[in-house]
């Protein structure tokens, strides 16, 4: 592991009886892009607030760049930039003025603040909009300005809470690419939360799955799905368009019986010309050889891969369903 920047140990936050974050342990290394994934209400924002010392943990410890978030929040805020969900600006001021204000709050004097603000605006591609009032900015421009606001303090870590919320697909792509490009240029550690799995996996080095206050697992998406679905049954579908007509033939009954007898098949269904087999391990090869031997046509043979969508279905949508019950 690279030099750790963010270290979370046994972090817990309780609101009365409700546990928002439950004994969270997480280490993020320097220069990493980490995605905190989870459905709404999983405790992502609460964790981020505690990282920045904006909320006090009930238990546990958070350090950012060696500073304790609870006891040295100001030091943490000097090195960590935070883009809140739904970031707001002073709408009767221009984007440039908003940035200059941030720069001055971070201890730059007037001239430095203005130079730095123009520089950062250029980096996020907003030089043309510098003099426009932020009240007239579009959603995508606001997020860019928010990013500029974060970068102006030369942070070592940037923490983004749902940065892609409310953006259109191309806007999401641009923003995420921008974030990653900036972080690679300056070796900035990025932590962001999202409930959009698909966007996030494209840009993250690692993700953490966060459900109901607990970190289920962390790692890159491939190893994550392997681990999470290790004990799940394998589903193989095999068939042909021609099967529907041959349903009543002898060859069909024969192969149906043979398939059922393969070691490890727990359940079998026939639907729309396809056998759907639920098995304890991968039997695709055996099925294929059976078909070839039987002389029946086979133009569809798929072993179901567990991917993002399944992770999503399993934890995110299921999680919300359980909550509402």
């Amino acid at each position: 592991m690279k030099e750790p920047i963010i270290e979370i140990v046994g972090l817990t936050k309780k609101y009365g009886n409700f546990t928002a974050v439950d004994h969270l342990n997480l280490t993020i290394g320097k220069g990493e892009v980490f995605g905190l994934l989870g459905p709404n209400g999983a405790g992502k924002s609460t964790t981020i607030l505690m990282l920045l010392g904006l909320s006090e943990p009930t238990e546990g410890n958070v350090t950012v760049c060696g500073y304790n978030s609870e006891s040295q929040p100001i030091e943490v805020k000097k090195v960590a930039g935070y883009l809140p969900e739904n970031v707001g600006f002073y709408e009767d001021r221009s984007g440039l003025d908003n940035l200059i204000y941030t720069a001055k709050l971070n201890g730059l004097n007037n001239r430095e603040a203005e130079d730095k603000a123009l520089d950062v605006l250029g980096r996020v591609g907003m030089t043309g909009e510098a003099q426009k009032l932020t009240g007239k900015y579009s959603r995508g421009m606001r997020q860019r300005l928010g990013l500029a606001n974060v970068l102006i303090k030369n942070p070592q870590v940037i923490i983004l809470d749902e940065p892609t919320l409310g953006l259109d697909p191309s806007g999401i792509q641009e923003l995420l690419d921008l974030i990653v490009q900036l972080s690679r240029e300056d070796r900035i550690t990025v932590l962001f939360s999202s409930h959009h799995l698909h966007q996030v996996q494209r840009v993250c080095d690692r993700v953490g799955l966060f459900v109901k206050g607990k970190l289920l697992d962390e790692g890159d998406i491939q190893s994550l799905s392997k681990r999470l679905f290790a004990d799940k049954p394998v589903i193989v579908t095999a068939g042909s368009d021609a099967f529907e007509e041959k349903k009543e033939t002898e060859a069909f009954f024969k192969i149906e019986n043979q398939l059922r007898k393969i070691n490890g098949v727990n359940n079998m269904q026939f639907k729309e010309g396809k056998f759907i087999l639920t098995c304890s391990h991968d039997i695709t090869a055996e099925i294929a050889s059976l078909f070839i031997a039987s002389g029946l046509p086979l133009n569809h043979l798929v072993r179901k891969e567990y991917g993002l969508d399944d992770i999503y279905n399993l934890y995110f949508e299921g999680g919300e369903k359980n909550d509402s019950n």
């Binding site: 924002s45 904006l54 809140p84 201890g107 007037n110 303090k153």
Partner: protein, 324 residues
């Protein structure tokens, strides 16, 4: 953004926020409207005062030597004096400067952004108060000095040193009075999520004190009135009690204090017995003595202001800041 002259030194974040608050206040429409109303009413009251001031000079008047102070208190009945206007408009000014101090930051989503900057959290609420208070003080002092200057030019009698200091203390008192309403509305802005709610709540408190509270006290006074046979001791106690009730109203405190400051012949604000008055010369009090008379009122006003601020400070520091 206001420019400071120091180019090399690092700005203190607190000053940066105060500067921004001041420029926000001064640019806002509501402040411009309030400013216009206050300036117009002051000009009006100045005009009526100057018209009627010639009639007000009577021979053997104990306040004759405090001619200049009349500029602030005199009225011919068509329009209230400067003092009355301040009593009435001061709370509105204070409320309109503070009612959305914190909740508008939450609703705009700027609060979580501000708090993620490397500044202590209390900087924000302190700067909100300081910024608004600076604007109020500058406004009142310039108005006061303008009135003095105009009076000087038109009636041609310069104020004595004592009169000058009486006016300064009066203006200070007015600032403290408005600061009370400012802090009350900041408190409500911390407590209420919507700016409209906190504005209405603050106006309700103000209306209660300016309209209904006196009625309420009258009601209590009627019910508690001692019989005609009551001893003088009982009557004095009763009077004191009613006066104490009235003094819960900050406007009453302010009125008592300003009366004693601007009308030097006022010797006491509470009830006086014949023995106390007997033998005293009908002469005005020196400034020091007038200040002694208003000291409790001033302390009371400052205490109310501090209590409101302390409450909003605690509430603000304890609040968990979530985005929007």
């Amino acid at each position: 953004m206001t420019q400071t002259k120091h180019k090399r030194t690092k700005p203190n974040p607190f000053n940066v926020i105060v500067q921004k608050e001041i420029s926000d206040q001064v640019r806002s429409w509501r402040f411009i409207i309030m400013l216009a109303i206050i300036v117009l009413t002051c000009a009006g009251s100045m005009y009526t005062t100057l018209i009627s001031i010639a009639d007000s000079v009577k021979p053997n008047d104990p306040e004759g030597s405090f001619f200049f102070l009349k500029l602030f208190t005199l009225s011919d009945g068509t329009m209230p004096s400067f003092l009355v206007f301040i009593t009435f408009l001061g709370p509105v000014l204070g409320i309109c400067m503070g009612f959305d101090a914190i909740n508008s930051e939450i609703n705009r989503g700027t609060l979580s952004f501000m708090l993620s900057q490397p500044i202590p959290r209390d900087y924000l609420i302190n700067a909100k108060f300081t910024g608004a208070f600076i604007v109020i003080s500058v406004l009142f002092f310039s108005l006061g000095f303008l009135m003095m200057g105009l009076g000087l030019v038109i009636i041609g009698i310069p104020p004595t040193v004592e009169e000058f200091f009486r006016v300064i203390f009066f203006l200070l008192l007015a600032c403290v009075y408005v600061a009370f309403w400012l802090n009350l509305s900041i408190l409500l802005s911390v407590q209420c999520r919507q700016a409209a709610t906190s504005a209405l709540a603050a106006i309700a408190v103000w209306l209660f004190f300016s309209v209904f509270y006196n009625m309420l006290v009258n009601l209590i006074a009627k019910g508690m009135a001692p019989s005609e046979m009551a001893s003088s001791h009982q009557i004095i106690n009763y009077q004191r009690f009613i006066l104490d009730l009235l003094r819960v109203d900050p406007a009453h405190l302010f009125n008592e204090a300003t009366t004693a400051l601007l009308i030097p012949s006022v010797r006491s604000i509470g009830p006086l017995t014949m023995e106390q008055v007997y033998g005293s010369l009908p002469s005005p009090l020196p400034l020091g003595q007038s200040l002694m008379v208003v000291w409790p009122q001033l302390t009371g006003l400052i205490a109310a202001t501090v209590i409101c601020f302390a409450l909003s400070y605690v509430l603000f520091m304890k609040r968990e800041i979530r985005s929007r």
